[in-house]
Amino acid sequence: MSLHFIQEPLDKMPPAVVPTQPVTLNVNGQDQTIQIAPWTSLLDALREYMDLTGTKKGCDHGQCGACTVLVNGKRINSCLALATVYQGKKIETIEGLGAEDNLSPLQQAFVDHDAFQCGYCTPGQICSAQGLINEGRCKTEDEVREHMSGNLCRCGAYTNILSAVMEVLHDGQVVVDNGTLVTIPAQPTKSSSVS
């Protein structure tokens, strides 16, 4: 048996020149103008045009959350956002939350709780957690698990991510299921032992 497979012919030939336009974005408090195609995603604008590579591309389809950034304090998937639409808005990326030598409490909690392994989903996890804290809805572990479930972690650091977020969410305290605040120790290794 032999078949011939041809992709559908194009309706029309591709344009000779793909248009670009200047777009001004306010990222981490600074305005920057870049020349991009109208369909450039916010994620690609950050990574390929502004050298802000802390924001990660894990799927480019809004399925993994690695590209999460904050826009006016709310978390969004930057791979599903067209850069041009976000002109005039306050965009915050992982680089804006805290630098390597000046970590935010959430970033420090992620380090202390070993809430990552390969580190690739981590900026998205942290931006998402910051968004979750800003939203102010989640109080219990179950709520945080649910509301952090838009961010995949293939290394499987979920329990440590939960510990890190809970620590910051209640400033060193954790809500147990009956609603009572209980202080947790700084070290996250309470459930492991080296005998």
């Binding site: 030939m13 389809h61 993994c64 990552f116 580190g119 981590t122 698990r145 972690c153 979920y158 996250p188």
Partner: protein, 756 residues
């Protein structure tokens, strides 16, 4: 409890860093976005982008590529395909990487023939990413389609014995006694068939390469996503005829690998080929869909037969497996051996075969072979325990073996019994009602399951370099990898401990082919192999320091041998009298040297390998809650007890076991790449349809490390923890589901349709 390395002389002090739960040294870079992955490095001069086009057909031949239509777009520079990619190396040998299986490796854009669906057929190069992607999306390609076959079940009759030769592959053990007779005559017996289909690694970072064309002959900096920069370098050097100076491969951070980065993937070939042809810097990044276009955990069919005497002692054990491979390579895993290592039976039979279908070659994926075989054998052991009327935990202890029955060798160490005891105590196993369907939580059925596992404790050749500068800072380097395992921090600990320096005074660098060679990061051998090389390099620096100290006027260390000296708190001290002490900074100042450097090497001990069996072990205890009306299964509690020698850093080691546990859960309940045999194509090639756990799926996981002293398996007492945590988990979940529901499911993933 803190631990110290065996040499230099064991001293247990507060200043010890080995065995302590120290934060990752690369942590701040990772949480602030400063850590650079392969697609994130800047280049000298402008950067062009390559976008890969893959075949929609599974078998056939490309007849036409309408490249002219997209080359007319301003800013599109090249459409690479078999039509215009020059022939590079003549022989297959050049395309073989360090961990390639037997056969003829895939050569990207080499021929018009299509061997598997999603085969890369074109690389479009343009000035921007958006432009390259657009051009690729409108590029028309014509194919003559041939009939394919991707159905493993249809080629069972064509199975052949798996050939030897691949790194890490151990052929099935020889048979013992008379399996058929023993099975026929035994009072208690079970037989079952077990299935899981293809699974794809799907690390969060997609495969990517940035080539920095330096404009100096063919010199390039090649930033690649890989689990081993040296393996990529030798692959590129052989294919393109490049020197190590021309093809410098760099991999500082690797966004997960799980085996997918063991072999160089096609984007690195395409990026380097395009850079050489165009003499230009270029970046090529795969899409998530393309992450399903290469190696995977192979679809495997298994058969188990086990029988016991009246008291429950195993009398017969048979484990057979048939796995898929491609038409061009023979991918092999160690699948059936593990049951024979865990349990002693006087009558055994093991068999492992392959059959070929029209897919890409399978590729080692976390605990390759063991995860596959362990699910089947530990499910069968559970079933056997019930048939023999024994508790599954008691059954495992009754059939415990202190020697490896497959090789008749003693284990260098094996505390699986303590894993079972300590895990059971932590889990509360004694509260378990053994009767299936006997435990409930409201309208949910509750099930408790247990399974054990083992993995190789192995070493590979590795090298490291240590440089102590005049200001007292120690910089250690090795071309190893950190795909998330914690290599950066544990090697820093190893170096700091060996020379008695504070962590802040030590830097460990990795992932650059200009550094001393190290193996790919896989097989759980990095901590052991590179750790020993780092220790050796630092000890060599220590020996030089001691000699310099003894040249000082009235040296208090006069006449002290290296073996009788200790390196503590920035001082070299005599073991016998620690007041005989010299500060390292004083030695450096007195010596006038600008730096002291040394290389260290490590490798397997062939004599010990002949005499002993070297393995890590674990026991996983799982609680599931099952809603029988909906068929939903929730894993509410896991205790994973691991015996893997010395634990260098309980914080990062625990994370490895947590991750392994999540992988086991994922394998048990979620992961499956659906292969449509009509199209010969994996259908769920994205993160929405290829299911892996999210945060809400993961509940309480307890990790226990049972310490083993073992200086035979490893000079530094380490067995590795990358794979072992995954073992046992999938079987324990299936066993817990049986306990909850009374249904024995032998096909993964254990989705709701299989319970209803």
């Amino acid at each position: 409890m803190s631990q110290t390395i065996a040499t230099p002389p064991t001293v247990r002090l507060d200043s010890d860093v080995i065995g302590k739960p120290i934060n990752r040294t690369d942590g701040p870079a990772k949480v602030s976005g400063a850590a650079k992955y392969a697609a994130e490095f800047g280049v000298t001069g402008p950067l062009w982008y390559g976008y890969i086009v893959n075949s929609p057909v599974a078998k056939g031949k490309i007849t036409k590529i309408h490249a002219d239509e997209v080359l007319a777009i301003q800013g599109v520079h090249k459409v690479f395909s078999h039509e215009n990619v020059p022939s590079f190396a003549w022989f297959d040998r050049a395309y073989k990487d360090d961990v390639a299986p037997g056969g003829s490796p895939f050569r990207p854009l080499h021929e018009p023939e299509i061997m598997f669906s999603q085969q890369p057929v074109v690389l479009v190069v343009a000035e921007t990413f958006e432009l390259a992607r657009y051009a690729a999306s409108v590029l028309r390609i014509e194919y003559d389609v041939e009939e394919h076959n991707t159905d493993l079940n249809s080629v069972i009759g064509e199975a052949f014995d798996a050939p030897r030769g691949k790194t890490g592959f151990v052929p099935p053990p020889k048979p013992k006694g008379d399996m058929n007779k023993a099975f026929a005559e035994a009072p208690h017996k079970v037989a079952g068939e077990y299935i899981h289909r293809a699974q794809h690694h799907n690390p969060m970072e997609m495969f990517a390469t940035t080539v920095d064309w330096l404009g100096d002959g063919k010199k390039m900096k090649i930033y690649d996503k890989t689990q081993g920069a040296p393996n990529v370098q030798q692959y590129l050097a052989k294919i393109f005829g490049l020197s190590t100076d021309e093809a410098r491969v760099i991999s500082k951070f690797t966004g997960g690998g799980f085996g997918s980065g063991l072999r160089p993937q096609y984007q690195v070939f395409l990026a380097v080929m395009a850079a050489l042809e165009l003499e230009h810097s270029i970046r090529v990044v795969m899409t998530r869909s393309q992450m399903f276009s290469f190696g995977h955990r192979p679809h495997t069919l298994q058969k188990l037969r086990i029988a016991t005497d009246e008291q429950g002692h195993i009398q017969a054990l048979e484990h057979k497996a048939l796995a898929e491979t491609s038409h061009f390579e023979n991918a092999t895993e160690t699948v059936v051996n593990w049951s024979g290592i865990l349990y002693n039976s006087p009558n055994t039979n093991f068999d492992y075969q392959l059959s070929k279908i029209d897919v890409f070659t399978p590729l080692d994926m976390r605990a390759p072979g063991a995860a596959t075989g362990n699910f089947a054998s530990e499910s069968a052991i559970d079933e056997m325990a019930y048939k023999a009327g024994l508790d599954p935990l008691d059954f495992r202890l009754l059939n415990y073996t202190y020697t490896d029955p497959t090789e008749n060798k003693p284990f260098t160490s094996k505390r699986l019994d303590d894993c079972l005891h300590e895990g059971a105590a932590r889990f509360g196993w004694d509260q378990r009602n053994p009767e299936p369907r006997s435990m409930r939580d409201g309208n949910l059925l509750v099930g408790w399951g247990v399974a054990s596992g083992c993995w190789d404790a192995s070493m590979q050749k590795a090298a490291a370099k240590a440089v102590l500068s005049a200001d007292g800072h120690l910089t250690v380097s090795s071309a190893t990898n950190d795909q998330g395992a914690g290599t950066y921090v544990i090697m820093t600990q190893m170096a700091a401990q060996t020379l008695g320096l504070p962590m802040e005074q030590v830097t460990f660098n990795l992932g650059d082919t200009e550094m001393p060679a190290a193996p790919v990061q896989g097989g759980s051998w990095t901590a052991n192999s590179v750790g020993a090389a780092v220790q050796n390099a630092c000890q060599e620096v220590g020996k030089k320091l001691l000699k310099l100290a003894q040249k000082m006027d009235n040296s208090p260390l006069d006449g002290v041998d290296f073996e009788d000296a200790q390196f503590v708190d920035g001082h070299i001290r005599a073991n016998e009298d620690i007041t005989r002490s010299v500060a390292i900074e004083d030695i450096l100042a007195a010596s006038g040297e600008s730096k002291i450097e040394a290389e260290g090497k490590a490798g397997p001990n062939p004599i010990n390998m002949l005499k002993y069996s070297m393995h890590s072990h674990n026991a996983a205890f799982v609680e599931v809650k099952v809603d029988e009306d909906l068929g939903t299964i929730h894993v509410t509690r896991v205790v994973n007890a691991v015996a893997a020698g010395r634990i260098l850093n309980p914080k990062t080691a625990r994370s490895q076991v947590l991750g392994g546990t999540v992988w086991g859960l994922s394998m048990a309940l979620m992961e499956e790449t659906y292969l449509n045999n009509d199209l010969g194509r994996y259908m769920n090639h994205n993160y929405a349809e290829y299911h892996i756990p999210v945060n809400a799926d993961i509940h309480k996981i307890d990790v226990i490390f049972v310490e083993e002293e073992d200086d035979i398996a490893s000079p530094i007492g380490v067995k590795g923890v990358g794979e072992i945590g995954m073992l046992g988990v999938a079987a324990a979940i299936a066993n817990a589901v049986y306990h909850a529901t009374g249904k024995r499911v032998r096909e993964l993933p254990l989705t709701s349709d299989k319970l209803l």
